[in-house]
Amino acid sequence: MTTYAMVIDTITCIGCGDCVVACKTENKVPEGLNRDWVVEATSGEYPNLHTEFRSERCNHCSHATCVYACPTGASHYWKDTNIVLVAAEKCTGCKACIAACPYDARLIMRPEGYIDKCTFCHHRVDDGLDPACVASCPTHCMHFGMLDNPDSIVSRLLRERRHKALLPETGNEPNVYYLL
């Protein structure tokens, strides 16, 4: 089992949305749909403020509730990894996975109606490339690699920097981390 992770540095992320456009063009995502998005969270009161930008997407959870919720096996792990994919030919569009996903990370493809999502650009991962969002980011705030390899950039960053994941309390074991 190989665990791929994405590590995103909120200190350098500027919320520009390049990751969103890069994903859409790379993966030919139809108009009006997105596999990733940017969140801005501001806390405090003028003039003592904190703003955090986060590029968000499927967390490719090690315990992916969407995979377990899928009645047809359409949602599945790719090869022997944590990358969660949907096989359109097995998908009935029942949306059980949408209900099961804590991150609201799945979308309904138009016009066909099957479920689609972030793939961590597994077609690029096969070629040793970073996902399109990571490769396009002008701030270099996004990193991708294997958690199992202690020398990978993601392992190193998680060792060295304070970080968080989103909704770890679900027990899904998300694999997208945010450096703080």
């Binding site: 456009v21 790379e26 806390s43 003028y46 403020l49 030919e89 009935t92 029942c94 002008p138």
Partner: protein
């Protein structure tokens, strides 16, 4: 009052839609890149940064465009807008064929005509202007490389006047202020050495919201390694949110802060004494000049506590010379902008950062010979001496002054070529000016890829093909490494659109001036030029970007004397040139106008999703940001009874109203200011996505302050109030 805002600022998820329950027989789409993939080098034209990239097609269809790894402008990564560049090619609202204004049954209308008819009409009108008024009476307004071809054609005809609105409506004060101080400007891409800075000071500059690619990359690189970032802004901008010090300055008082910083550096003897002694002139005058402007004085003007002014000045000195007081880029704010840029330039000199690592580096471009062509005739008059006589230090066109010189029967200019600049939204209250100019001019030719407000005033509209469909001049910008980059067509031009070189050459031919364009195809020029520097068009079509060895040093050579291109040969802290033309030789502070009760400072800026108003209709970028919002502090929102998501009209003290704009109530702005992203509020229905959404800040500007040194338009002295409406944008 909300203590926490939580907003998805981009990307609507699809999961909310209601779709039929059971499907069968869907097949997964083939994985991207598994078809036949071809690539073409390009130079992005979605903004002026001109990043080199590679256009990918799969099975003959546009796929993606990515940054070129060897390009210093983008360092392998395009920005949001560049990544969405294909949308400009695919935009169904593009201009499709030449249009000519004619009298129709129901008044004036545009009639599609052939290129030959369009060129004939233009040439006849130009000749008529030449006969009646003189051949020097045409002006070019241009933003972008293709304007150069029209300039060649107009110079051949006898008209030398041109303006880039990016001077008088944007970075002119900076270039002038730095030019007066150092003998040269900052240039584009900006020569800031943020990769090596230990302290960076941004004054009203929101890098990261503007996506000037290598600027963003070097700033975030610096933030990543813990640079001491100080941001001066009435708004908690993106870089303010990354800063150790956010100085939420009272709008319009930046000069007071700059003078107080100089006061501290000089009186606490924290300036670079060796650097000042070796390279600067006028220090004693400056030291005496700043004595009254201590931090206690500045506090009353700026609202920034004296202790913070001292603390930040000391932080700058501690990191010097690797301290960059950033020059900003869009600097036409309050009318004393050249002087404010001078103050920034002087502050950098006190810290010794010009020509030093972490400050400002020296750039170099490739020495590229010009393609042999005849010299243009000497124009009948010196247009600058006539039109811009009040601004003798300015060597380029001042767009607003040239527009004024086009209004009325006795106006100097009688015809315009407008290349890729939407003047009605570029100039303050530009619609009114265009309306007047259009009544006076005998000819207005507009060249662009998209219909826009300016094309509505044109006699002739010429549709240009996009950057993905044409060869263009080689990109040869001064940079850290001299580099050439090639733009070449990935696609055949759609519709009946053409490249600028072809149009200018065609018009020149009709005027009997064909000899000034001594080539059949612009590829001949590119190949000839490239061969002069040891490359070729064939090579560049393969590699896209080529670096050349540097011949001059990147930084000042320590211990060696430096000759600056100023009258004294030194960095001029005290400017004799300004004194000669009756301007302040040392920067002075003028308190700004204050808004009337119930009104707010109108501040505007950029978004990473758009380039001015030029990309709003780009389908890919429109999806990311389909409208602008007005940022309002909760205290101001309470006064006007508005909440986030409500729509308001913005109204200036003259009663001029904007289109409806959505309210964003946020702690991230001073209570006395509002903020909106520039470029929205289009009124041309031919841009079907952009039409009618959001509001245009430029149309609300009622208090435009002309810079007495460089003639540009100070755009941040206007005020608006909020009028709630039920009408959505």
């Amino acid at each position: 009052m909300k203590r926490r805002e939580f907003l998805k600022i981009s990307g609507a998820l699809g999961a909310a839609g209601v779709m039929p329950g059971l499907l069968g027989g869907c097949t997964s789409q083939p994985l991207p890149g598994t078809g036949k993939v071809t690539t073409t080098p390009t130079v992005c034209n979605i903004c002026f940064w001109q990043c080199a990239g590679t256009m990918y097609q799969e099975d003959g269809k546009p796929w993606k465009v990515v940054g070129h790894p060897d390009d210093p402008h983008c360092r392998g990564r395009l920005c949001t807008r560049g990544t969405g560049g294909i949308g400009s090619y695919e935009d169904p609202d593009r201009l499709r064929q030449p249009l000519l204004r004619v009298e129709g049954a129901d008044g004036q209308e545009f009639k599609p005509v052939s290129w030959d008819e369009a060129f004939d009409f233009i040439a006849r009108r130009m000749e008529a202007i030449g006969e009646r008024h003189g051949r020097d009476r045409l002006a070019l307004f241009s933003h972008g490389g293709g304007g150069k071809f029209f300039r060649t054609m107009l110079q051949a005809f006898g008209s030398d006047a041109y303006a880039h609105p990016s001077f008088a409506q944007c970075r002119g004060p900076r270039e002038t202020g730095f030019g007066l101080t150092y003998g040269e400007g900052v240039g584009s891409p900006d020569r800031t050495d943020m990769s090596h800075s230990r302290c960076i000071v941004l004054i009203g500059s929101h890098i990261g919201e503007n996506l000037h690619n290598s600027q963003v990359q070097t700033l975030t690189e610096a933030i990543g390694r813990g640079v001491n970032l100080i941001t001066v802004d009435p708004r908690f901008s993106v870089p303010a949110s990354k800063s150790r010090h956010w100085l939420a300055i009272k709008p319009g008082t930046d000069m007071a802060l700059l003078l107080a910083w100089m006061n501290v550096l000089i009186n606490e003897e924290r300036y670079d004494k060796d650097y000042v002694a070796n390279h600067c002139s006028g220090f004693d005058e400056l030291a005496a000049h700043v004595q009254p402007f201590n931090p206690e004085w500045a506090y009353l003007e700026t609202g920034i506590e004296p202790q913070r002014i001292r603390e930040t000045a000391r932080a700058m000195a501690a990191a010097a010379p690797a301290t960059l007081i950033h020059p900003g880029r869009h600097t036409t704010w309050y009318g004393d902008d050249t002087q404010r840029s001078r103050a920034i330039a002087i502050l950098n000199a006190l810290l010794g950062s010009w020509g030093r690592p972490g400050g400002y580096y020296y750039q170099e471009k490739v020495k590229l010979p010009k393609f042999p062509a005849p010299k243009p005739p000497k124009p009948a008059s010196d247009w600058k001496a006539v039109v811009q006589k009040d601004f003798p230090l300015v060597s380029t066109g001042i767009s607003n002054v040239m527009v004024d010189a086009s209004i009325g029967d006795d106006a100097f200019f009688k015809g315009w070529f407008v290349y890729a600049t939407n003047l009605p939204m570029t100039l303050p209250a530009g619609h009114d000016k265009m309306e007047q100019a259009a009544q006076s001019l005998d000819l207005m030719v507009v060249v662009d890829t998209m219909p826009a407000e300016i094309t509505g005033y044109a006699d002739v509209v010429l549709p240009e093909c996009t950057y993905l469909e044409r060869y263009d001049q080689l990109r040869n910008k001064a940079e850290r490494t001299p580099t050439l980059a090639l733009r070449m067509p990935a696609f055949e031009p759609r519709y009946d659109s053409k490249p600028a070189w072809w149009m200018a050459k065609g018009i020149a031919g009709k005027l009997g001036l064909g000899e000034y364009f001594p080539y059949q195809d612009y590829k001949e020029v590119l190949d000839w030029q490239l061969k002069q520097v040891g490359s070729s068009l064939a090579e560049m079509e393969k590699v896209g970007v080529k670096a050349f060895p540097r011949k001059t040093p990147v930084y000042m050579e320590e211990g060696k004397p430096v000759q600056f291109n100023t009258p004294s040969g030194k960095i001029e802290l005290y400017s004799g040139l300004l004194e000669e033309v009756g301007q302040d030789p040392l920067p002075k502070y003028t308190p700004p106008d204050r808004p009337p009760e119930g009104y707010y400072h109108l501040n505007y800026g950029r978004s990473p999703a758009h380039t001015f108003g030029r990309t709003i209709n780009n389908p890919q970028l429109f999806e990311l940001m389909p409208e602008n919002a007005v940022w309002v502090h909760p205290a101001a929102a309470a006064v006007h009874g508005v909440a986030s998501g409500d729509y308001v009209h913005l109204e200036n003290p003259d009663g001029k109203r904007s289109q409806a704009i959505r309210v964003r109530v946020t702690q991230r702005i001073r209570p006395d200011s509002i903020f909106m992203v520039h470029g929205f509020g289009h009124t041309d229905p031919r841009q079907r996505l952009a039409y009618g959404v959001g509001a245009d800040d430029a149309a609300l500007m009622h208090n435009v302050k002309i810079d007495p040194v460089m003639g540009g338009t100070g755009l941040r002295a206007s005020f608006v109030t909020l009028k709630k409406t039920s009408e959505a944008s």
